[in-house]
Symmetry: C2
Subunit: 398 residues, 2 copies
Amino acid sequence: MKVAIMGYGTIGSGVAKVLDTNKDIISERLGEAIEIKYILDLRDFPDDPHADCFVKDYMDIVKDEEIKLVVETMGGVEPAFTFVKAMLESGKSVTTSNKALVADKGAELMKVAKDHDVNFVFEAAVGGGIPIIRTITACLTGDVIEEIAAICNGTTNYMLTNMEQYGSDYAEILAEAQALGYAEKDPTADVEGYDSCRKIAILTSLVTGKNVDFNDIPTEGISKISATDFKYAKSLGRSIKLIARSVKVGDTYACRVAPYMVKPDNMLYHVSGVMNAVSLKGNMLGESMYYGAGAGALPTASAVVGDLVFLARNVSKHVRIGWANEKIELASPEEERFRYFVRTSALQSNIENEFENAEYASLDLDDEVGFITPEMSESEFNERIAALGGIISVIRLY
Amino acid sequence: MKVAIMGYGTIGSGVAKVLDTNKDIISERLGEAIEIKYILDLRDFPDDPHADCFVKDYMDIVKDEEIKLVVETMGGVEPAFTFVKAMLESGKSVTTSNKALVADKGAELMKVAKDHDVNFVFEAAVGGGIPIIRTITACLTGDVIEEIAAICNGTTNYMLTNMEQYGSDYAEILAEAQALGYAEKDPTADVEGYDSCRKIAILTSLVTGKNVDFNDIPTEGISKISATDFKYAKSLGRSIKLIARSVKVGDTYACRVAPYMVKPDNMLYHVSGVMNAVSLKGNMLGESMYYGAGAGALPTASAVVGDLVFLARNVSKHVRIGWANEKIELASPEEERFRYFVRTSALQSNIENEFENAEYASLDLDDEVGFITPEMSESEFNERIAALGGIISVIRLY
């Protein structure tokens, strides 16, 4: 079974390393070997063990009928989209680690794959090495998934874990994470939750069978979380985690990315550092959780190679997973109900006017009070804090 | 797609309930409906919604060529083995929830399935609703699995959790678990670790591609664990969990079922009550963990229905997973290395003679001392405690 790899960066070269290192056991499981025939990259790699596989024109791969499986690890929407579409249209199955491509063009590429009796899979696009995509599309197929809650960004989970452990403030931890290479120079996509947003859009699309537009998902990051917020969380026996979440509401889902205060009886509380986890609640299965490395060359490449084995087992046969190119109308974010942790400089008597039965979280700080509201809708909560004023921070409870 | 269910007990009727409740979404994912045509049971169920499907002779199912998928939820090795084999030989794929059957006859039935170009799958046989089998056979296919560590028996995990929480002794908690229906009247298979032993044998077979004989696995249960052991564990910042474990050693694996003292930085520490979890370490993926309901009618039935969707997607095509009917010689249990927690009535001076660098865990109890040994092999440890004498209890550290 001959494959082509498009894009020989961290993940692409990781895929080659997994295929080389675990050659024997992969052949044993599949019943035949997977061999790299082409690597598409504009750069030269004269000392690479696969140096003789490099090509610079994707049409060299399109035209070779011996290639049935293609790996896309270039990143970005273009030219990845053009290349992947051409591969599918020429009867080749594709696996990609590219979440931007899947979030933007996934449903469209799925239809192209179906029309040409091949497969388009993307295990590595969400949760790195955690096999969450196949869990949804090929394991929990007997369940209605009622809730997804995911810690699916390693950078922000690393930062929050360190803020909690060392009592540091956001800016300090960001600088440290950047110095260590855990955060990018422009960290916006991670810290503002955009990366998590694309991932929950993909997972929710797979669960609903329709297409979730990630632009419809209210998204907050962690850049406003402070050391004081963590002091309050600790006093409440909780931690703060950036969670991408979808909850079934009638025939649709309410989706949101935001920091939440989480209790130890929730397994997500225990997910530390760069690790990721996705919890899924099925109407028959109940609670389940999938935990592992959400990034890194080899864990991500491991997921791509798992996809290659799947594709090799299903050559020339489209496996339907029920992801239609039809947009789903998400539930109104304003109607979602939460309990909220609030810090305010308002007087306690005013808090009592706006929020009956508030639970106070006393840190004995000058000039501010922390409290937890009863459960209410976003719209009601927003009205009340506008009336209260003096808001320093707000974190939803989970 | 017409199916037959053999055995209409808790799990079998759960399968019918999942198929009925989630009929629409299953059809949407698969592209066709799954309908129950036969239910094999010697009992009568005149008021059941599927009352007209009941048959008493398995040959009625064997002879019907319209049936391509069969569910086996009878339990026990016979007559389940005879029935399942006949189904496979007549060109029908089978899913079973029956771990006794899989541990005893799995590799043999896999060969029959291969010879007849059908599939034999058993997601529900280990970990209930947790999709651990498909994770190994269809997701982590690019990895060499270097370690499996599983909490895969809900009864014992429930009992240990309660012993820890309430400071109760084993007998008291067992009586309570029996009264609540969490433990059977004869609890031997659960509390002595035999159930966990069969499950780790199955998982290790899938990971090695060879056949692990569960009789080869050293197995200890929880019946010797006391309230005092938990007091020591707490003083050491640890919990006690019954763990079924396989570790790669050269070309084979060392397997063991035993109670272990576990630290909070191990995710298994946080698995409480009847919940199950399996952690897998891949040579590329690194650490991962899969958590969920390990028992119960609907979670288990959810796994069976997930199998049915897989079988329906692969009718008349055997999917190789690499489980040969060739026995694997496991590594010698005597060579496994651990640190050990030991309680003894021996004098501290004698402990120092036998175990240099022991770490003492002081509970200030009369007549006994608790300590942790440095890492050493089982054989060396056994020699030394025999020389020391006065041993009250021993628990391995993980």
